[in-house]
C-alpha cells in the first residue's frame, strides 16, 4: 500500500533534478541526459496514474470513458519519441563538435544577442 502521492512526489523530484541539470550543466551531452531524466519522470507519473485509475475507477469523473491501460501506451509513445530525439540530438551534437570543436554550450553562441 504505497500512497499515490509518493509516486508523484518522486516524479516531481526527478523532474526538478532534470530541470536543474538542464539549467546548470555546461556540457551539451549532460544537458541532453537531463532532458531524458525529465522524460523518465513524466513516464513514472503516467504509469502510477494508470495503476491508480485501474484500482480506483470510482474516482473518475462521471461520464469519463478512460481505459486505464492507455497510460502504458502513452509511456510507449514517449519512449519512441525519446529514442528518435536521442538519435537526432546526438547527430546534432556530433555535427556541432565537428564545426566548433567544443562541447561547452557557452562557446556555441552564434545565435546569442
Amino acid at each position: 500500500m504505497v500512497p499515490l502521492s509518493w509516486y508523484l512526489i518522486l516524479s516531481a523530484i526527478l523532474f526538478s533534478l532534470g530541470v536543474f541539470g538542464f539549467l546548470l550543466k555546461r556540457n551539451i551531452i549532460t544537458i541532453f541526459m537531463s532532458i531524458e531524466l525529465m522524460l523518465n519522470a513524466v513516464n513514472l507519473s503516467f504509469v502510477a496514474f494508470a495503476n491508480y485509475w485501474n484500482t480506483h475507477p470510482a474516482k473518475l469523473a462521471s461520464g469519463a470513458n478512460v481505459v486505464p491501460l492507455s497510460g502504458h501506451v502513452f509511456v510507449f509513445f514517449v519512449m519512441v519519441v525519446a529514442a528518435a530525439e536521442a538519435a537526432v540530438g546526438l547527430a546534432i551534437i556530433i555535427s556541432v563538435f565537428r564545426t566548433r570543436e567544443t562541447l561547452n554550450v557557452d562557446q556555441v553562441n552564434l545565435l546569442k544577442l
Binding site: 500500500m1 504505497v2 500512497p3 499515490l4 502521492s5 509518493w6 509516486y7 508523484l8 512526489i9 518522486l10 516531481a12 523530484i13 526527478l14 526538478s16 533534478l17 532534470g18 530541470v19 536543474f20 541539470g21 539549467l23 546548470l24 555546461r26 556540457n27 551531452i29 549532460t30 541532453f32 541526459m33 537531463s34 531524458e36 531524466l37 523518465n40 513514472l44 504509469v47 502510477a48 495503476n51 484500482t55 481505459v67 486505464p68 491501460l69 492507455s70 502504458h72 501506451v73 509511456v75 510507449f76 519512449m79 519512441v80 519519441v81 525519446a82 529514442a83 528518435a84 536521442a86 538519435a87 537526432v88 546526438l90 547527430a91 546534432i92 551534437i93 556530433i94 555535427s95 562541447l103
Partner: protein, 167 residues
Amino acid sequence: MIIHQILFIIFGIICVAGAVNLLVQRHPINSALSLVVVMASLALIYLLLGAEFVAAIQVIVYAGAIMVLFVFVIMLLNAGSEERTRGSHIAFFVGVPGVVVLAGTVAWLLIHSGGQLGSIKISASDFGNTQDIAHLLFRDFLLPFEITSVLILIAIMGAVVLGRKES
C-alpha cells in the same frame, strides 16, 4: 503490505541518488552511468506498479539502446571533464528559484492533500500484461503507432544526414 513501501523507498532513494550524482559528476561518462542507475531503478518501480511491459522496454530501450548511444557518442567525441564556467545568469537567478518554488508547492500540496488520492496496491490481477497492451496498441492506437514508425524512420534519416561528412 509494509514490504511494498520498503521496496518503493529503497528504489526511490537509489533513483534520486543517481539523479543527484548525474548533476554532481563533472565527467559526462559518470553522468551517463548514473543515468543508467536511475533508469534501472525506475524499471523496478514500474514492476512494483504492475507494469511488466513498460519495465521491460524501460530496460531494453532506455537503459539499453539510448544509453549505449550516449556512451558511444561520449567516447567517440572523447569528451573530457566539464569546464567550470559561469553559465547563464538568467538560468541561475530566475530558473533555479522558480523550479524550487514549483517543486516545493507540488510536494507540499501532495503531502497535505495526497491522502484523498488513495493508495496503490501491488495488483494481483494481470493488469499491464503485454497481451492487453498489444490489443490496445494494435487496435485502438493503430494510427498513432504507425505514425511513430514513420517518425522513427524520419529520425533515422535525419541522423544519417546530420552525421554524414560533407564532401
